[in-house]
Structure formats: C-alpha cells, structure tokens
C-alpha cells in the first residue's frame, strides 16, 4: 500500500491511498492533535484483505476520536463493497464521492467512473450506460448496486 501525503497544513491534510491494503500496510502517520480535516483519495486501492480492514478501522477510528473530520474521495469499489458489513469503515457523512465499476459490452474493458453521492442516488433510480473510453462502445455498471448504496441507508 502507498500512503502518500500530498498537502499538509496545520489544520488540514490531504493524502492518497493506493495498492493493496493488507497486514503490511503502514498507517502509522503522525497526525497533529490540531488537525481539523483529513481528506483521503482512494481511487486506486486495488484490494483490501481482512487484516487490512482491521488496520484501516483502527487508524480511522483513532483519527475520528481526536475530533478530525474525515473526507473520503473517489472511493474504489474494493473499499465500497466492504462498507455494507463493516459499519464504521466509512461513515455516511464522510463519503463525498466513489467509483462505480463499469464494463464495456464491446471490448470488455473495465473502467471506474466517479460519482458523487447525489449522482449515485440519481443513478440508482435511473441507471444509465456510459461511453467506453477505449472503443467508444457502451459501458454498463457491472456489480450489485446495493453494495454501494447500503452506506446511504
């Protein structure tokens, strides 16, 4: 796993998580007690295993306890599907945007399309296809939508 801090001020930190989150993932980032907001971009998290979930949960619980507001951006499908049964993986109010997996009907290429929470709510009522960035064919959502929406309940 890569945990890259992109921007930091006294009150705010922006970081990116990517790769495989597992037992070797290092979440030991020293955070200022004055930190008010932490923004985490996690579009490129490939997968997370059971120990990765344990470490994720411990780290973000600790951050919440010190009063820091968490903001999750472009959350990868590998993380979103865990939010249904790990209740405090990401809290409802912390989720700003997420990635939905699409597969092209023509070239079978899979892509991740970014949706805000409001866009997701609209998509549930009116699911629509998108244009495949590779072959311009029709790319359709390719997973169980309830795994992505349970966090909104």
């Amino acid at each position: 796993m890569k945990f890259e801090i992109e921007k930091t001020t006294e009150n705010e930190i922006q970081c990116t998580l990517s790769g495989v989150i597992d037992e070797n993932s290092n979440f030991e980032v020293q955070l200022s007690a004055k930190l008010k907001k932490m923004t985490i971009q996690c579009r490129e998290v490939e997968r997370i295993n059971s120990v990765g979930i344990l470490l994720w949960r411990r780290f973000f619980s600790k951050v919440r306890k010190q009063g820091t507001q968490l903001v999750f951006l472009e959350v990868a499908p590998s993380i979103m599907v865990q939010t249904g049964f790990i209740v405090d993986m990401i809290l409802k109010d912390e989720l700003v945007s997420l990635c939905l997996p699409f597969t092209c009907s023509s070239c079978k290429k899979s892509t991740k399309n970014v949706f805000t929470v409001d866009m997701l709510k609209n998509f549930v009522n009116n699911p629509s296809s998108t244009e495949c960035p590779i072959c311009k064919g029709e790319s359709v959502f390719d997973d169980l939508i309830e795994e992505y929406t349970s966090i909104l309940d």
Partner: protein, 328 residues
C-alpha cells in the same frame, strides 16, 4: 466426461423436496446436465420421501429445502435412518442460517447450497463441476474440482504470500478473467494462505501456535513436510485455487459456523489487540466463489475456491454458492 457418464446403464434418480421455483429450476437443470431422472415429492414430508427413495434400486441423490428447524431435524433423521447411502444436498436460504447449530452438527448433508434466494440466477457452476466428476466409479456424483493444473507453489514462509498473490493474478488475467473477478479470486486465496500459516499450525495438544501472532510477522516452516501448497487449476470455464496445509487442524463445525455467521450478515467485532479480524472466511465468501474443504485430521486441510473464468463481477455475485466440508 459427459459421454462417459451417459454410458452408465442405470438411471440415476434425483429426489427433490422443495416447492420453490428456484430450487425446481436448479434441480431440473442439474438433472438435465447429468442425465438424472427427477422425482419431485409433492405433498409429502422428508421421511415419506426418503421411504419412497429407499424402495428404489439405485442410491438416490437428494436435494432438500427445509423451511423450518423442525423440517431440518426431520430431514436429518430421515437421511441418517435411510437403509442406503443418500447423497443429500441442502438448499439453505436466509430462513435457516439462524438455526445453524442443528444444521452444522449434521454430517448427513454433503453440501450446503447457499441460494441467495433473491437473485440465484447462475447455478451452472455447481452442476458443471458435478459433470466434470461424474465418471466416478461408485456411480455417485461427487463434487470435485478442476484438475488441469496451471501452477503449483510450495511456500515455507508467510512472506511469500504477496508474490504468490501477484503471480495468481497474472495467471488469472491470462485466462481472460475480468479484472474485478480476478481481484476477488486473489483476495480469497490471500485469506486462505493467511489461515494456513497463522491459524492452521497447532502443537501436539492441538493448541494453535500462531493465532495471536501479528499477521505481518514472518512464519517460517523449517520442516519441508510442513510447507503450504497453492495450486491453480482449470477445467473449461472454471478456475480453482487451492491452499493445502499439513496440519489438518480445521474443524467442520467451526468452518460452517463462521460461514453461516458471515452469510447471515452478522457484523464483525474487533478486539483492540486482535491480530486478525475474524473476517477471513467472510472475505472468501464475499468474493462470490464457492468453497470446498477436505480435512484429514492431523494430516492436512485442503481449501479450494473456484470461479467461472468468463463471468463478470455482477454475474459472480448472483450465482449459487455452495460450501462443502468433508472431514474424514
């Protein structure tokens, strides 16, 4: 293989005790694939159905759905009291998961078929595997697994897991597996390898050696006989990933208890100092793959999970799942 099966002279019978549309569809397709004759028992209970099956010449295969605890107990007793071996498979929906203590104690049920009633659409994988193994000489089908081996790894340290997972992902992608399904399959084998290194090893008294060890620590087996083996095999459109340990310490009831708990959506509880989340099996099942354990106590545990290589993530999650745990 189908040809070999059709060459059998005797007619195989499949007893179906269920009125649910999904079960009937599943059984009919299964029977059609394997050349079984379906005997659907209507307006009868399990005991009466078994009695009728006992009067048949061949040993029957039975698919049964018990809708209540009482029915489940009756089914279990009837199968145990049968005057011939009955190969019984139990459809399990949400309604029975909370009755799991009875469900799990029974050894009369070969396989638990988790049908996920609301969206059980893809049942092909179950009977395709049965087809693949239907040339068994004992004239019963046994669920077996893809046997055409693509790769085998011997692991003596837990830190080899990362490389194995990467290699498996590459090989699955080479089979044209969808990226999302390949990731799910790799997640499953990741968990099974961790179990083999940290949960399976026991001392001479059966006490776990490394259950409370941090999962990032190095576990190394100096004795080559204690190594962990992984294999990837294929059969047609199916891929099976297998992890074998040489301890044979897994237990049927605890595996199925974990499985039922995760399938019934029980939330995970983490201790502050826990070294594992207890979510390993849940993660394997969440991958959408079906799972088979064969345990030889004190010798080895084989855990196998399989996927259809040409499915999309959406299809994998809608398929029937089964769990089979055999303890000899």
């Amino acid at each position: 293989l189908i040809g070999a099966f059709e060459a059998e002279e005797s007619v195989k019978q499949l007893g179906l005790i269920s009125h649910l549309e999904n079960d009937i569809k599943f059984s009919n397709e299964f029977a059609q694939t394997l050349g079984f004759e379906v005997l659907q028992f209507k307006d009868t209970n399990v005991s009466q159905a078994i009695e009728k099956l006992n009067s048949l010449e061949s040993s029957p295969t039975l698919f049964v759905r018990a809708m209540s605890l009482e029915e489940l107990v009756i089914a279990d007793q009837a199968i145990k009291n049968s005057n011939r071996p009955v190969e019984a498979h139990l459809f399990v929906g949400d309604e029975l998961l909370d009755k799991r203590s009875i469900l799990l104690r029974s050894h009369s049920i070969e396989n638990l078929l988790f049908t996920k009633d609301a969206f059980a659409e893809q049942s092909g994988h179950f009977y395709a595997l049965a087809t693949a193994s239907s040339d068994d000489i004992n004239n019963n089908f046994k669920i077996q697994w893809p046997r055409s081996e693509i790769c085998r790894h011997m692991m003596q340290t837990s830190h080899q897991k990362k490389n194995i997972a990467t290699d498996m992902k590459t090989r699955l992608m080479n089979l044209n597996m969808h990226d999302g399904v390949a990731n799910a399959a790799v997640s499953a084998i990741d968990e099974l390898i961790m179990n083999a290194f940290f949960d399976a090893p026991v001392d001479e008294n059966g006490l776990q050696l490394y259950a409370n060890t941090d999962r990032s620590e190095l576990i190394q087996f100096d004795d080559i006989k204690k190594s962990v083996h992984t294999t990837l095999s294929t059969l047609g459109d199916f891929a099976a990933l297998q992890v074998t340990d040489s301890f044979g310490s897994a237990d049927r009831v605890s595996i199925l208890t974990h499985a039922c708990r995760s399938l019934s959506g029980t939330s995970a509880v983490f201790g502050q100092n826990a070294k594992s989340s207890g979510l390993g099996l849940a993660m394997v099942l969440a991958s959408g793959g079906s799972l088979s354990y064969r345990i030889k106590p004190g010798e080895r545990t084989e855990a196998k999970v399989f996927f259809r290589t040409n499915s999309r993530p959406n299809e994998v999650k809608k398929q029937f799942q089964f769990i089979s745990v055999t303890q000899s």
